[in-house]
Symmetry: C2
């Protein structure tokens, strides 16, 4: 098994934190996203989607997408469970994980990728080029504000996002909130629940991953 990572990128950080929480060490290779190594013929042959994180299994099967990679390790290393313990908690984890990804991480990516000069024509990840759409910067920033408010309200009810237990949803939300800092956006001091949660999850050793 080999894990293709980029230590400076937020998307693979999700997998790194997940592996740290599980205590799993995986042989890792860095992919230099800044110099578009993910678009090289060599990497494209491994992962035609040209994305990291990416996991190569012993039998040559490639697993792209952070959520899918984490689900693989949830099966091979069930403890501690990070996708929920019973039907209800698994559903809540899946719901908040999707929300943290679509409404959080993708909102930040929408604003970030459509305005960063170095990402001109790279507004979407993947093998094809897509031009930046300036209107998506504004939309992305608005969506991040909604995401923070949603988290703050949810975290007034529960210790962690899905339930009383730390889960992949907290990991994805943490990565999204920290990714937003690249746009100089962070939770306001009035968002006390979000601020409390962010301090707690950031204090876990895995957050350094």
């Amino acid at each position: 098994v080999k894990f293709y990572d980029c230590s400076s990128a937020p998307s693979p950080r999700r997998v790194r934190i997940f592996l740290a929480e599980k205590g799993i060490a995986v042989p890792t290779e860095q992919v230099d996203l800044r110099n578009n190594q993910q678009l090289s013929a060599e990497f494209r042959a491994l992962n035609p989607q040209c994305t990291v994180p990416f996991l190569l299994l012993e039998d040559g099967t490639g697993i792209a997408e952070g959520d899918a990679i984490c689900r693989y390790f949830e099966e091979t290393h069930p403890e501690p469970p990070l996708f929920g313990r019973d039907a209800k908690e698994k559903a809540l984890v899946a719901m908040w994980e999707i929300r943290a990804m679509f409404d959080g991480f993708y909102a930040v990516a929408e604003a970030f990728r459509n305005r960063t000069p170095g990402l001109k024509n790279r507004a979407l990840t993947g093998p094809r080029d897509f031009e930046q759409i300036p209107a998506l910067v504004e939309r992305g920033l608005a969506r991040i504000g909604i995401f923070f408010a949603t988290l703050d309200e949810r975290l007034s009810e529960t210790k962690f996002l899905a339930s009383g237990h730390f889960s992949i949803a907290d990991i994805t939300a943490l990565v999204a909130v920290d990714f937003a800092a690249r746009l100089k956006l962070s939770p306001s001091g009035e968002q006390k629940n979000l601020t409390r949660w962010h301090a707690e999850v950031s204090a876990r050793p895995s957050a350094n991953a």
Copy 2:
């Protein structure tokens, strides 16, 4: 348990097909999306995200997001497994499910919601209004073309999207491909693998759900 559905909408169709494959009957209530019933105070009190599909559990817990609802029923009714059988297949199902959702369903939604006159200011689902962005129509259409090509290539290797077994990834991809028909887009006759798969999954009784 109560399932909130809209029989004319593609997003809850994913859950309907899943339930049909499992042979599960759930008390169901229709939500009239055409008249914005999902934005009513009554429905908003149930699901603040104002989306269907939505599942209300006996204890009052609400589960939004089709993938999360399906994972709940995968736990309560494990047979037949629709999220994979072992670590590798579960990872492949998760990967293709994400791809069918992000690169397929959301690409169609991007083109559809940003150009349909009746969805002015409703370019994104959820409680907040977002204006249509014309450039996303073109981007969405381009992404659908890429999605079809990706499916066709993948289905030259496997019977179903993730493996030799039918899974939630096939359900989501089927719903996405059929949703694209609303934009008058369908697989070309030259995409023989995609055409073969689409005929097969459409012939399953669940496809009528």
